[in-house]
């Protein structure tokens, strides 16, 4: 019995989220369909995170096992060919797909992408811009006004630690084991972008997350940036445990699952470092 770990990237815009749902286009559903064709068996993928509709990923992890002969590198190639995400072929004008296998490797029997994960990093992007940027409509939350990234960073620093994040949990969450989570770091970055705009990127690294927690943190941090919430109030908001004290749930298109960690040292290092995204100047 062999066991594989896949690293996946996807643009969440045209999916109803990660989790398989009958009759709906989902990332898990599409990947299982493709992998089952390749492996000639019924593949069930276990994903590290069940990202919502519209949410993107640079580094989702998913594992599956079975009696397959195929080497991981060929599995990646074959899957990407079917997904429209293989190496570009100048001879065929094939359409590029919206999900890609970034990596495939063999892992020990019993390794599980979700249960063995020690944490993850999410990135939330909001673009402060005077006029709508239609080409970025699916890639970020576009906000009015002039959020103060410095105030956002101050507020963000108050969010780290082992805390009861109940105030940052949406109703409808199905977590077991209480609402205490460990956030290793919340960093705020700001870059000039587009026509007089600023892209504010919030990177949250944590050992675990409640439902919509990063999106509620992002909405709260925007509130801090707009002066509606003072950074000094953050501790009180957390301690109150009241959802109404925190900010709005930021929309899904700004959220991206950057990375899943399987070692605590790697996660701690990542919490302290900006996630490396290649420049996409056009």
């Amino acid at each position: 019995m062999r066991n594989f770990l896949l690293t996946l990237e996807y643009d969440g815009s045209l999916f109803h989220g990660w989790q398989r749902q009958p009759g709906k286009r989902t990332v898990q559903g599409q990947l299982e369909s493709v992998l089952s064709r390749i492996c000639l068996a019924d593949v069930r993928l276990d994903g590290a995170s069940r990202t919502d509709a519209g949410v993107h990923a640079y580094g989702q992890s998913a594992s599956f096992g079975g009696d397959f002969a195929i080497p991981p590198e060929r599995l990646k190639l074959a899957a990407n060919n079917l997904l429209g995400a293989g190496p570009p072929d100048a001879g065929r004008r094939a359409r590029v797909g919206d999900v890609r296998v970034a990596d495939a490797r063999e892992v020990p029997d019993g390794f599980h992408a979700r249960y063995d994960a020690v944490g993850k990093k999410y990135i939330y992007r909001m673009l402060a811009v005077p006029e709508a940027d239609i080409f970025m409509r699916n890639a970020c939350w576009q906000v009015a006004g002039e959020p103060d990234a410095g105030a956002m960073a101050e507020a963000a620093a108050r969010m780290a630690g082992v805390r009861d994040f109940r105030a940052f949990r949406a109703s409808g969450g199905a977590e077991t084991g209480g609402t205490v989570r460990e956030v290793l770091g919340v960093a705020v970055y700001e870059d000039a972008f587009g026509r007089g705009g600023r892209m504010i990127s919030i990177e949250v690294t944590g050992a675990g997350f409640l439902y919509n927690m990063v999106r509620i943190m992002a909405g709260t941090l925007l509130g801090a940036g707009m002066g509606r919430i003072s950074p000094r109030e953050i501790d009180g908001i957390i301690e109150s445990g009241e959802r109404g004290r925190a900010g709005p749930t930021a929309p899904p298109q700004g959220l991206c699952l950057a990375e899943v960690y399987y070692g605590r040292e790697a996660m701690k290092a990542a919490a302290a470092t900006r996630f490396a995204r290649p420049c996409r100047s056009v």
Copy 2:
């Protein structure tokens, strides 16, 4: 009777092109619907260019007239609100649309966006990258290999001038007045992009174009970059008038209508200058 000129930008991915077609989502159709609501009258838009399905625009021009009281700046605001392209409103999590009115101005009675245009600039983008970039799937043509931008620029220089571009016209074109067109400039630019990729941008400025001419020029220039066509062959290809001698028609998602010109001096200046796109590093 008042007359308006609109400058429009759109992401062509989810439209069946510019031109109104019953039962299909088109840019012209969507804009006419929105403008008719605002002006309380049946608005018919005349567009400078009938861009194909999948083709984008930074600066399409379109004109319309009527007995409207509305000032152009309010027309722009109202249209963008309905299109989901107005200034971001932090209070409403409205989805950003895929077409926007970038400018609206009043023009003299009788001014016509297409008939008064003296020329246009198109940009064709191709991304040479070893692995598919799924986030850029609708924004460019992704090609394999290592195209030589220098050879492409040499070949591009041979394409300028007043020439019979019949070899660069797709069948199905409906041009009147022969196949001679004036190309003021063809420039090739190259930028590092993404994971070890290079974005090659071809800017073509011309007084007029045949059907699919820029896309066939782009496919031909890729051939020159890959060594399949020598720059010295370009004159012979043009003179032969044979479609089969030129390269393939590059796919629509790489093409963008950058600007429409109403003055020859402005067009000549633009032919000699790189089109200014704001940086979109993410």
